[in-house]
Amino acid sequence: MPRSYVVDDPQKGVFLLDREVHMSDEILREEMRKIFAKCWIYVGHASELKKPGDFVTRKVAGRPVIFVRNQKGEVDVHFNTCRHRGALVCADRKGNARRFFCVYHGWIYGNGGELQRVPGDEAYTDAFDQGELALKKPAKIDNYRDFYFMSLNPNIEPLKDYLGKATDYIDLVVEQSPSAQMEVLPGTQEYDVGANWKLMVENSVDDYHLPSTHATWLNFMANSGVKVEPPKEKGLVLPTKGWAIELGNGHFTTDNVNFRGRPVAAWIPLYGEDAKEEMAEMKAELVQRLGQERADRVASTNRNLVIFPNLVINDGSSVTIRTFFPDGANKMQVTAWALGPVEESENARARRLDAFLTFYGPGGFATPDDVEALELVQQGLANWEDDRWSEMSRGMGREGEQLNSDEHHLRIFWRHWDKMMGAE
């Protein structure tokens, strides 16, 4: 009987989470094996690699990789590890290179990964097969609409099947561009949070926390002419209605009626009077291209999407790609990028970036308070052995549609996580 970390009783309306999941190094080691080595993990966006030879190096699922566009123009992922004695073959953060050169003994690889040169290769026997010594790759590499993922699991289903209904929500992002091309903007936000990585999953979609954690952001919005009325309907905590939606395979999203403005294309006073006309044109373009209903869907709803286990796409005040990875049970490293349509005007781009910073990021008016809240959780959990369970039953009795401010979607995550951890 595998161990379970949740008490899940829908009949009684009870859902409890064992706080050990945020504290234990042993559980973290198991997560590496049972979650991060089993799932599709986000690597990067095709727009980061514009020309052949463009590369970025980063860690994905804890593995140093080179995300590169090879000479044939194909996007590729190599392990950043020399086949000879294991050194990183590329120390640069990003650049353009035909070849990667291992500084230790001078082995040279093409940007397609092939081993091109071994200094003094006459010293090897016939058993040495240079053709077999290309840079290794993760077991699987695939993309959905320019979002590239890798998996260390050779038996995993195709990415599109894995993403399930989450593809609908990625489509809603991509459709913001008239040419269906989004690009990652320059400037990466990389910051650590002193909390277990799964707390960021919860926080990214937990709309229950908004009024309390982000009181100062709501105040800022009010000061900027965005009136945030208290909700009229029973059970709501936000001024507009929002739902929590299960997407399969542990993925889920919030799906909220917009009140906070959207760069494509819902004007709020914060953007300034000058922006009104251009944003009306952007909306008209959406209507012309997608029809009224779909255009409203793209422009007038906000969505915080979680792709299990560690990719978040916040499609709200701006579009954020955010991923995070544990560095110990009590710490994570977060990386966040802004995403925008390639054809965006200079003013629209500036508005998008400005809107991003009103809420998100280490200097934003909201993210620092999220970081604080998660760190307070991690600190409080030091009592876990004597105060063992987190109470996560909010909204459990609700029939039919589930609210963004309940914990339905958080339970989706935990049930899926618990199932994967229970598997051998």
Partner: protein
Amino acid sequence: MSQKVTRAEVEDFLFHEAALLDEWHLDEWQKLLTDDAHYLIPPNDDLDGDYRKSLFIIADDRERIRQRIIRALDPNCHAEHPKSRTQRLVGNVRILSQDGDNVEVAANYICYRYRRYERIGQYVGNYRYKLVRRAASFLIKEKKIVIQANELGQLGSVSIIL
């Protein structure tokens, strides 16, 4: 022709500014700004970027600075409640150029940030100021802050005014 600005004058101003920030006299600090002031922290991987094209850590205009201070002083600003204790050292002050009343200044800084239960935050980098001479002192037209680290990393957030 304006009189040539001396480094001592600039240092007096920067040290005064540093003291206001360390002491959380943010409303006093605001009085040092011009009406069109900017407060900028570029991303660690695009230090020379333009905030209209690149995702900065902070890119505030004057109104946003005002809002930032309202937020920072609000007890509901959880990231700064209780408030960080900070101590900064400003040095290597250089006057880069002077054009009439407009003076460009570079300086280095170390800012230590202390909070209960947390690691010491050590923000290290350089300031680039656009100052405007006013009466016996200066106003800040732009303060651009480079955090000299490959990534923000364990510094986490920038919820103080750096």
